[in-house]
């Protein structure tokens, strides 16, 4: 685009992004990480060039966050985007200073390419599209003879206007009723916090086919099956030792709205629904009962009507002229309180990015995709998962030292006969064993 366009380009935040600048802190970074593990070592110079090319193609990502008098907004960032070696833990905070002003950070380490994205910019779908564009340019430079494709297959017919548009505003009038927020306090996983708010990641890699077969055998989908497994693991390993208060275990499941509404936007377009079960009244619930409950509960919630009502609820708050006219410092404070109440109604989150595909020519060079979701004081454990080819990577992110929920979760899967390979970012072996040398 021309210089003139760049200088005068600005964009309001989309409906879902509006809350994030106000509620982001060191305690809750609202940063997720999409990683790609390549087959070979990453070449930083090529990655840097690929990033610059991708930003030219998708200028919407080259923005910085600004504070206005009533709202935050986005405008063009003229700084140079920098690729750097990964030297922090996943989902570390992105503020206006530590990423050259950009709302994302692209890092590499051995075979990993990591995209840390601030949720103000986009959701997982947008981030995936961006990282796939970067990968396409990366491999086009590395293997010019082998890679001939120029475009990603997913979004063939979308203008740049559509990419940067707020789809919430396009679809908010589709529902008659306005959804109601669900707000009782949920059970909270507690433990010893990690040093310096680092994040412990444990990936469990299973075969997509085998997991799908297992879910099919229970007459359900992978997301619903694993939501039930997570809920049961939290009950088994945390709740049943801590049953002082009657609080449900509430798991939130973000839903990609592009699957239900016509949209090709690369900005946020998701809704969060949640399912919670009361374990306080009935002791010793078997896993099958949990699964049956989650299946029934999510069936009523993951459908177009329910999601449309959710969109309407979110957008109508934003349309209210009285709320819009509140100056930003007061808005920050109010949104913080609302967000905290919302967060307290959830125990954990399970994000399934689904099946990830890349152009066929790129397939031999990519090993796997991994999703990391940030954690905060209220939700100390979250799951991000995605599948690529036959590898389903289920990633636990944790803000606490304890890993018994992860243990129970994967134990259930291995008991069903699934082969699980575990990978972690945690190198510490214990207080009495010396730390290993850095092999990076």
């Amino acid at each position: 685009m021309s210089r003139n366009y760049d200088e005068f380009y600005w964009e309001k935040l989309d409906n879902a992004a509006k809350i994030y600048p106000s509620v982001t802190s060191k305690k809750s970074t609202n940063v997720y990480r999409v990683s790609v593990k390549l087959v070979e070592m990453v070449e930083p110079d090529l990655l840097q060039a690929a990033l610059e090319k991708a930003l030219e193609e998708l200028p919407f990502f080259g923005v910085k966050l600004r504070k206005g008098f009533f709202w935050y907004y986005l405008e063009r960032n003229f700084a140079k985007p920098m690729v750097s070696i990964d030297h922090r833990f996943p989902c570390a905070s992105i503020d206006k200073f530590n990423a050259n002003g950009f709302l994302f950070r692209l890092t590499y380490y051995n075979k990993m390419v990591n995209f840390d994205g601030f949720h103000v910019l986009t959701d997982g779908f947008g981030a995936l599209y961006f990282i796939k564009t970067i990968l396409l340019h990366y491999f086009k430079q590395k293997y010019p003879e082998q890679i001939k494709t120029d475009v990603l297959p997913e979004i063939e017919d979308a203008s740049s206007r559509e990419f940067a548009s707020d789809s919430f505003l396009r679809h908010w009038r589709e529902s008659e009723e306005v959804g109601k927020p669900y707000r009782p306090q949920a059970y909270r996983i507690k433990g010893v916090p990690l040093f310096n708010r680092e994040i412990k990641v444990i990936h469990g890699i299973v075969s997509t086919k085998a997991l799908l077969a297992l879910a099919k055998k229970h007459n359900t989908t992978i997301t619903i099956f694993l939501t039930a497994v997570l809920m049961y693991s939290i009950y088994k390993e945390s709740f049943q030792y801590n049953m002082r208060k009657n609080r449900p275990i509430e798991i939130s499941v973000p839903v990609n709205l592009r699957a239900y509404f016509d949209s090709s936007t690369l900005r946020n377009f998701f809704a969060v629904i949640s399912t919670g079960m009361d374990f306080y009244q009935n002791r010793n619930i078997p896993f099958d009962e949990v699964l049956a409950f989650v299946k029934e509960d999510l069936k009523t919630k993951i459908n177009r009507e329910h999601l449309a009502a959710k969109i309407k609820y979110n957008v109508s708050a934003q349309q209210n002229i009285m709320l819009r006219a509140i100056p930003i410092p007061i808005k920050d404070l109010a949104l913080k309180i609302i967000y905290k109440i919302g967060e307290k109604s959830l125990t954990s989150t399970l994000t399934n990015m689904g099946r990830i595909t890349v152009p066929e020519e790129l397939e031999p060079f990519i090993d796997r995709f991994l999703i990391h979701v940030w954690v905060n004081d209220v939700q100390q454990k979250k799951i991000g998962m995605c599948s690529y080819k036959d590898q389903m990577v289920i990633s636990f992110t944790s803000g606490i030292e304890e890993t018994s929920i992860e243990y129970r979760f994967f134990k259930i899967l291995t008991d069903y006969g699934l082969g699980v390979t575990v990978s972690t970012n945690w190198q510490e072996t214990g207080a009495f064993t010396a730390k290993k040398e850095d092999k990076g």
């Binding site: 200088e7 005068f8 070696i85 030297h87 575990v422 990978s423 214990g430």
Partner: protein, 220 residues
């Protein structure tokens, strides 16, 4: 690759204990993966700020102790304490503002003015601060930002809001003068006129950018 015989999972990383159950693991082959850095960098700024705050507390405690021990009371303790506070806040602000020059200029204009008014009020109150110093500091701040905007028009969007706030402050001493606190008027009036001219200049020379910037900042 390692194997945990309790969880029945394979482990890709070269770690002795199973990340799930903490049990010792058995080696299958010596092919390991290292996907994450092992040396995580630590934050330095936070420590620096804590050190500065602690040193300031030490300094103030020392001043108070000396003031308490020494029999005759004088002004120096209050002035020394406020000076320490002023310097501490200025340094912390400089570290935390992360090279945001516009914000630093604004903060220093306000901070230095208030500090000088305080010193003035403690030492005889002839209002040299309001008569001369405050308008001069405000004019200096406006001038620095004007120079930046003239030579680097690209940075206008970063500085304009601070320019407007400082220019508004330029009018403030006028009110003090109208309330008959100040005794000398020529510099105060000059500062107010200078601020007004800066406003007009912004809209005449940088009209498109200025209007665009205001539209963005105040969108509802």
């Amino acid at each position: 690759m390692r194997l945990c015989n309790r969880c029945h999972v394979h482990i890709e990383n070269d770690i002795d204990l199973c990340p799930l159950c903490g049990q010792n693991t058995a080696e299958i082959d010596d092919h390991y993966e290292l996907d994450y850095p092992t040396n995580i960098s630590k934050k330095k700024f936070k420590y620096l700020i804590r050190l500065i705050i602690f040193l300031a507390i030490v300094a103030i405690a020392t001043i108070l102790t000396i003031d308490f021990v020494v029999p005759e009371h004088s002004l120096w303790a209050v002035i020394a304490m406020v000076t320490t506070l002023y310097l501490t806040i200025t340094i912390i602000f400089a570290v935390r503002s992360h090279r945001n020059l516009g914000l630093m200029i604004l903060a220093n204009v306000i901070g230095f003015s208030l500090f000088m008014i305080f010193i003035d009020s403690q030492t005889g109150t002839v209002w040299w601060s309001i008569n001369y110093l405050v308008p001069a500091v405000i004019m200096l701040g406006t001038t620095i930002i004007t120079i930046i905007i003239v030579f680097k028009p690209m940075l206008l969007r970063d500085y304009i809001i601070y320019q407007f706030i400082i220019a508004l402050l330029g009018v403030a001493p006028l009110i003090i003068w109208l309330l008959k606190i100040a005794t000398v008027d020529w510099l105060i009036i000059a500062s107010a006129v200078y601020s007004l001219l800066t406003f007009i200049g912004m809209f005449i020379f940088k009209d498109r950018r200025t209007k665009h910037e205001l539209k963005k900042r105040f969108h509802m």
